[in-house]
C-alpha cells in the first residue's frame, strides 16, 4: 500500500496537529466509572499502546474516541477535528478495528471491503484499487471471493483489520486484535501493524499482552481501573520502577554458602533462595553480573545457568498497581 495517496476528503494536517487529542474523557455505566479522566495525545506516525488488564476501560475509551459512545465528560479531536461537533469529518479520519469481529459472514472478503469502502466515500476505480491493495496487505487475495463465514478465525481477524484500513485513516485504532488467535495469525497481525507503522500510519493499539505493547509501541499508557497510571516511552516507564534488575542463578554445590557470600557484596540489594535457585535484586545487572558469578563460584556453588531479567512493562504494571497484568 502507499501512504502517499491522501485519504478521501482529507484536508492537509499541520505537522504540529496531533492525530488524536483526547482530553479528560469520563464515562460512567451506572455506579461504575469505566473511564475516569483519561487524556491521550498521539502524534502523526506514532504507534501508541493502551496497556491494561481486562476491564481496565480500554474498549470504553476507544469507543468514545471513535464516536460510538458519547463521553460523560471530556473531548476528542481527531486530526484537529472535534468528534462532538463534526462527527462525520472526524470519523472519516479514523479507522477502527473492533475487538469483536465485525464482518458480514454471508458475503465475500472483497464484497465486505467494497461495501465499507463505499460507506467511507470511495468509489469507482479508486475503490477497486484500494480493495485489491488491502486484500494483498492482509494476505487474503487468493480467498477474496469466498464467503467470509468459511474463513478461519485468523483470516476473519485479518479481514476485520483490512476494513479499518481501506480509506487510509490518519489514525488506525486496533482493539485487542490478537485475542483468541493462533500464534501464526497473531504474528502475521503484529507484522502487518509494524508494516503500517513503518509506512507512517499512526496507530492506537490496545492490549493486555505486555509483549505486544513492548514490541510495537513507541509510547505506552498503562491503564487500570479506568485511569491512566503512567504514560511515556518504554524507557521512561521502566525508569519508574527505579531501574532494578533481577539475576537468577541456578546450579548445584554449596548454594547456601553462595547465598551468604552474596549478602556480603554491596551491589546486591536482595537475595532470595528457592531450592537450587538464587534470585538477586541488583541496581544494574550487566555491570554486577561478573562480580556475582565470581563470588558464588568462590563460595563453592557450581553454576549451571545465569539469567538476567531486566524490568519490562509487566514489572512497571506490578510496581504501579501492585497487581499482575494477567490474572
Amino acid at each position: 500500500m502507499t501512504t502517499s495517496t491522501p485519504a478521501p476528503a482529507s484536508t492537509p494536517v499541520l505537522s504540529s496537529t496531533p492525530v488524536l487529542e483526547a482530553v479528560d474523557l469520563v464515562r460512567r455505566f451506572g455506579p461504575v466509572t469505566a473511564v475516569d479522566h483519561v487524556s491521550l495525545r498521539i502524534e502523526p506516525g506514532q504507534t501508541f499502546g493502551l496497556l491494561g488488564p481486562n476491564g481496565a476501560g480500554k474498549t470504553t475509551t476507544i469507543s468514545m474516541i471513535c464516536g460510538l459512545l458519547s463521553p460523560d465528560g471530556g473531548s476528542v479531536h481527531v486530526a484537529g477535528v472535534p468528534m462532538a461537533q463534526e462527527p462525520l469529518a472526524a470519523k472519516r479520519r479514523l479507522g477502527l478495528v473492533p475487538q469483536d469481529l465485525a464482518v458480514y459472514p454471508e458475503i465475500s472478503a472483497r464484497q465486505n471491503l467494497t461495501f465499507f469502502g463505499r460507506l467511507q466515500g470511495l468509489h469507482g476505480a479508486e475503490l477497486r484499487t484500494r480493495v485489491g491493495e488491502v486484500l494483498e496487505l492482509v494476505g487474503l487475495s487468493d480467498r477474496a471471493k469466498e464467503p467470509s463465514k468459511k474463513f478461519s478465525g485468523g483470516m476473519k481477524r485479518r479481514l476485520n483489520i483490512g476494513i479499518g484500513l481501506l480509506h487510509h485513516p490518519d489514525l488506525l485504532v486496533l482493539d485487542e486484535p490478537t485475542v483468541g488467535v493462533d500464534p501464526q495469525s497473531r504474528n502475521a497481525i503484529l507484522e502487518s501493524v509494524e508494516a503500517l507503522a513503518g509506512q507512517g500510519m499512526a496507530v492506537l493499539y490496545t492490549t493486555h499482552y505486555m509483549e505486544e505493547a513492548q514490541r510495537l509501541c513507541d509510547r505506552v499508557a498503562i491503564v487500570d481501573d479506568g485511569r491512566v497510571q503512567a504514560e511515556g516511552t518504554q524507557d521512561e516507564l521502566i525508569e519508574l520502577t527505579g531501574g532494578v534488575d533481577t539475576i537468577v542463578l541456578s546450579g548445584g554445590g554449596d548454594v547456601a554458602a553462595a547465598e551468604v557470600s552474596l549478602r556480603g557484596i554491596p551491589v546486591v540489594q536482595k537475595v532470595a533462595r528457592d531450592g537450587n535457585h538464587l534470585r538477586l535484586v541488583v541496581q544494574n545487572a550487566p555491570t554486577a553480573v561478573a562480580g556475582v558469578v565470581r563470588t558464588v563460584s568462590d563460595a563453592g556453588m557450581n553454576l549451571s545457568d545465569v539469567v538476567i531479567q531486566r524490568p519490562d512493562l509487566e514489572s512497571v504494571f506490578l510496581h504501579l498497581t501492585g497487581k499482575a497484568l494477567r490474572d
Binding site: L68, A102, V103, I107, F116
Partner: protein
Amino acid sequence: MRTLLVLVARDLRQHVSDRSVLLFGLLIPFALSYVFNLAFSGLDDPQLGEVAVVVSAPTGDPAADAVVGTLGALADQGIPVTVLEAGPGEVADLVASGEADLGVTVPEGFGAAVAAGEGARVELAQGADTGLAADVVSGIVTATVQRLDADAATVAGAAGAGLDEAALGALAADLAAAAPQVEWAERTVAGEQLGLAGGIVAGQAGMFLFFTVGFAVLALLTEREWGTLPRLRTMPIPAWQIPFAKAVVGLILGTVSTSVLLASGQLLFDGVDFGWWPAVLVLVVATVAAATSVIALVVRYARTAEQASLLMSVIAISLGVTGGTFFRVPTDGLVGTLLQVNPVAALVRGLGITAGGGGIPDLAPVLLTLLAFTLVILVLARLVPGRKDAL
C-alpha cells in the same frame, strides 16, 4: 443519500438470497390461501359442509319467523342447511351433543322488543369443530337480526314512536323475501365486497406481511450480533441512516411480496379481483408502513434477534387472528371498531373497498386509520425506554 442507497442495496441483496424471506413472504401465505380456499369452497359444494341448525322460536311472532325463514332460504343458495325445531331448553343440549352444529334461540317477545326499539337479540350457540360453513350460517343469522334491528329503528325513527304490529309484519315480510342471501354470506365473512377467496388471500397477505417486514427490520439485531452494527456507527454516515435503511428495506420487501401475493391470488383463484391496482398499491404501502412501525417497536423492546423474532411472530399471529386472517371477526360494536384499527383488518377492509370498485378517495377512512396507527406506534417506539445502543 448515496450511503443510504449503499446500505439498502446490501440488505436487499442479503434478503433476496435468504430463503426464509421467499418462504414467509410468498410461498407459505400462498399455500395457506390455497388450502383455506379449498376448505371454503365446500360452501358451494352440496357434498360438503352440511350444517344442521336447531331453532327454537316463539310461534306467531313475525319477526322470529323472518329469522327462521332466512335459514330456509339458504338451501336455495347452495348452502346445505337442515333446520330442526326444538323447545327453548333443548337447543343447548342438541348443540353440545353434536346433533346440531348451530343452535338459534329466538326469545319470547322478540318481535315486541324489536318493535319497541329495544334491540333485537338472538342467542347463537355453535358446537366445537363445526367448520367454516357453520361460521357462515351463524354470520348470516347475526346479519339478519342486525338488519331487522336497524330497519326497525329506521322505521320507528321515521314514525316518531314504536312500530305497530302491522308495520313490523311488513318489515319482516320484506326481509324474508330479501335479495339473495349468499351475498350476505360473502359480506359477512370477508368484509365489504371481497369474495371468500379474495378475503382469504387478503388476510394471509396482511398477516405474512409482518414476517417479511420483520426480516428486514430485525436485520438490525442480527447486525448487532455480527458486530457490524457498531462498525457501521464508526463510518462517516449520519447515524439515522442505519435504522432508516432497514425501514426502507422493510417497505420495499413488504410492498413487493404483498403485491405479488395479491396479484397471484387474483390470477390463480376464481372470482378474485381486487379492483383498481393503483388504489390497491397505495393501500398496500400504507399497510406495510404500519407493519414497519410495529416491528420498529419490537426492535426497541427485544434484547436478542431470537427474542425479537418470537415477539414478531406472536404479534403477527395475534393481528392475523383478530384481523380476520383465519376466521370472521365482528365488524360492529366497540370490539369491532377496535379491531378495525388492526392493520391486517384495515388491509382486508380496504381491499373490500377496491374490489367493490372503490378508488383512492373511497379508501380515505382506511388510509387515515393506517396512518394514525403508524404514527402512534412510531411515537411509542420513541418513548419506550429501549436499549441505549439499539438505534
